[in-house]
């Protein structure tokens, strides 16, 4: 690697890592939002992945790939338990149940000896890095682009615009919703595991309400027209406090205000470009 890249990475390593991880988190939010659902459990799934992976690495010394796999499977299971009953109902039920999941998990992490209580877990080996983080982000992006251009993507968009109509046209609504939630939980779990293995320290408060709302703000700011949009949102909101140092202490205020303003004034987000479909002309009749 040329020297200047090395220097750059040395100085901005944490920032470069968090850009990729937040990008992944934004994508995990995108999968759910893209079909008109709202999960507020992304931070909880992320925390689940972080703790599972950290425990496996530290206590058992399992190989990294296996650890990442486990960090995706455990949140997926949680998503099934919470999602299966709620996704048949109107959207607010999923939102409420997933906020509840996050809170209960936080209390569990705080009180359990296994997870180190309020002190969290430290000394997690730095097994993650540029390759694993940006590799995951790249793979996820490519996968979502293919999905968005396929029949599945069309079904998702139809559900977002009008659920009843989509259902009447034969879209299996509960199956799509559950699949989306499970995929989103897996991505968030992966992001959590990668984060734990580059920061070497995790604590229960990292995965609370603030984190959940921040992840939502990434996707809302970017928009959900294409998989690139939420990643763009995540990059902007991760860079913003770095560029404007004085904002760093008011991250909660900024993220909260962005959600409020975007939902009221810019419901489609910053990047409104919609991806064309395979076999469809790119120009849409207006």
């Amino acid at each position: 690697m040329p020297e200047f890249i090395d220097d750059f990475l040395f100085t901005y390593q944490t920032l470069v890592y968090s850009l990729g991880i937040n990008g992944l988190l934004a994508l995990s939010m995108y999968v759910v939002l893209a079909l008109g659902q709202l999960s507020l459990g992304q931070a909880a799934f992320m925390g689940m992945g972080a703790y599972v992976s950290a425990l496996l690495t530290v206590k058992i010394g399992a190989p990294f790939l296996l650890v990442l796999l486990a960090a995706m499977l455990v949140p997926a299971l949680a998503a099934l338990i919470v999602g299966a009953p709620t996704l048949r109902l109107s959207g607010v039920y999923l939102a409420l149940a997933t906020i509840g999941l996050g809170e209960v998990q936080r209390i569990f992490f705080l009180n359990s000896e296994l997870t180190g209580g309020a002190l969290g877990l430290s000394g997690i080996p730095m097994k993650g890095g540029l390759v694993s983080i940006y590799g995951s982000l790249g793979l996820a992006l490519v996968a979502f682009i293919f999905v968005a251009r396929s029949k599945i993507g069309r079904a998702m968009e139809a559900m977002r615009e009008d659920e009843l109509a989509a259902g009447a046209l034969g879209v299996d609504l509960p199956a799509y919703k559950l699949a989306a939630l499970v995929v989103s939980a897996m991505l968030a779990g992966l992001a959590g595991a990668l984060n734990a293995h580059v920061t070497s320290f995790i604590s229960p408060e990292d995965y609370g309400f603030h984190a959940a709302v921040s992840i939502l703000s990434y996707a809302l700011l970017g928009g959900i027209g294409s998989p690139f949009a939420p990643v763009l949102g995540a990059f902007i909101l991760t860079l913003l406090p770095e560029v404007l140092r004085s904002l760093a202490d008011f991250r909660g205020v900024v993220n909260g205000a962005i959600i409020v303003l975007v939902v009221i004034f810019m419901p489609r987000g910053l990047m409104t470009w919609r991806m064309g479909r395979i076999g469809a002309s790119t120009r849409r009749p207006s």
Binding site: Q37, V92, I99, K177, V253, G256, I259, V263
Partner: protein
């Protein structure tokens, strides 16, 4: 021992019921899950704290805090939710707006008030316990149980026995048609926000008195119980809020007493998920659950 546990559970349950009342009323009439609701509880407790620190009697501070929180709720609703209602935005949009507002408001409150736990001046209310057949009860606890019962009765009468309630129910059913029938929708929306915010504020004062620990995030902790209560009771149902609040409060207290206090906080969530699996419309699910 058991009698004392049951009484404690009754008190905790009444707190949950009181808290969930305004939350469920907002959902029942306005059709939105307003996540800023917990914030009014925190602010209510702080307003009463500041008032009593300046020598105001708690009996004056309590209604003052309730009114102020009601007014804040009206302003928040007018600024954030009315535009969305006018634009006929999807229901999740309003949930997201209140979510963003919640983060914003808490972050501001945190910066302004700090997370230190504060306490009421000791002379604020008579803290001595009365001995009732071997069970210790404080004045605050009586006040909590009494006001929970009275407020549920009052709200039920308002909704089902008054002309105003007919308007509210019409608004809940179908806002456009209600407006055509001469219901002043804007005024009723503000009224519901006022009542709900006031209930949250009053509940914050009572919780502050009962536990004597006030900090900005106390409302957020309560929200988790609030979700469990309104889902177990049935979204938007006033009787449901009371019954579910009592059930969760009693179960939590018994769990803490006979199992372990560390699992106490999981009780509400376990009931929430169980309700969604078995009977998603809740105990009193009058409002049909919208199935996709």
């Amino acid at each position: 021992m058991l009698a004392q546990q049951l009484v404690n559970g009754l008190v905790v349950g009444s707190i949950y019921a009181l808290f969930a009342l305004g939350f469920t009323l907002m959902f029942g009439v306005l059709g939105v899950i307003n996540l800023t609701y917990g914030f009014y509880l925190s602010i209510g407790a702080f307003l009463a704290l500041f008032a009593t620190q300046h020598g105001v009697s708690i009996w004056l501070a309590l209604p003052f805090a309730a009114l102020a929180c009601g007014a804040i709720a009206v302003v928040v609703d007018g600024l954030l939710l009315t535009p969305l209602r006018r634009a006929k935005a999807p229901e999740l949009a309003s949930l997201m707006v209140t979510l963003g507002a919640t983060l914003l408001l808490y972050s501001l409150a945190n910066a302004a008030l700090s997370t230190d736990i504060r306490r009421f001046p000791p002379s604020v209310i008579d803290g001595s316990a009365i001995d009732l057949l071997g069970v210790r009860v404080t004045l605050t606890q009586c006040l909590i149980v009494g006001s929970a019962g009275a407020l549920v009765a009052a709200l039920l009468w308002l909704m089902n026995g008054s002309r105003l309630g007919m308007g509210l129910r019409a608004l809940a059913e179908r806002p456009d048609t209600a407006a055509l029938m001469g219901v002043n929708a804007g005024a009723l929306v503000r009224l519901v926000s006022m009542i709900s915010g006031g209930l949250a504020g009053a509940c914050g004062v009572l919780i502050g008195l009962n536990y004597n620990a006030i900090q900005p995030y106390m409302g957020e902790v309560m929200m988790l119980k609030g979700f469990a209560v309104i889902i177990l009771g049935g979204l938007g149902d006033i009787r449901g809020a009371l019954v579910a609040g009592l059930i969760i409060g009693l179960l939590e207290t018994l769990t803490a007493g006979y199992v372990a206090s560390s699992v106490k906080d999981a009780v509400g969530f376990a009931l929430l998920v169980l309700t969604l699996w078995i009977r998603p419309s809740g105990l009193f699910g009058r409002i049909a659950v919208k199935r996709a």
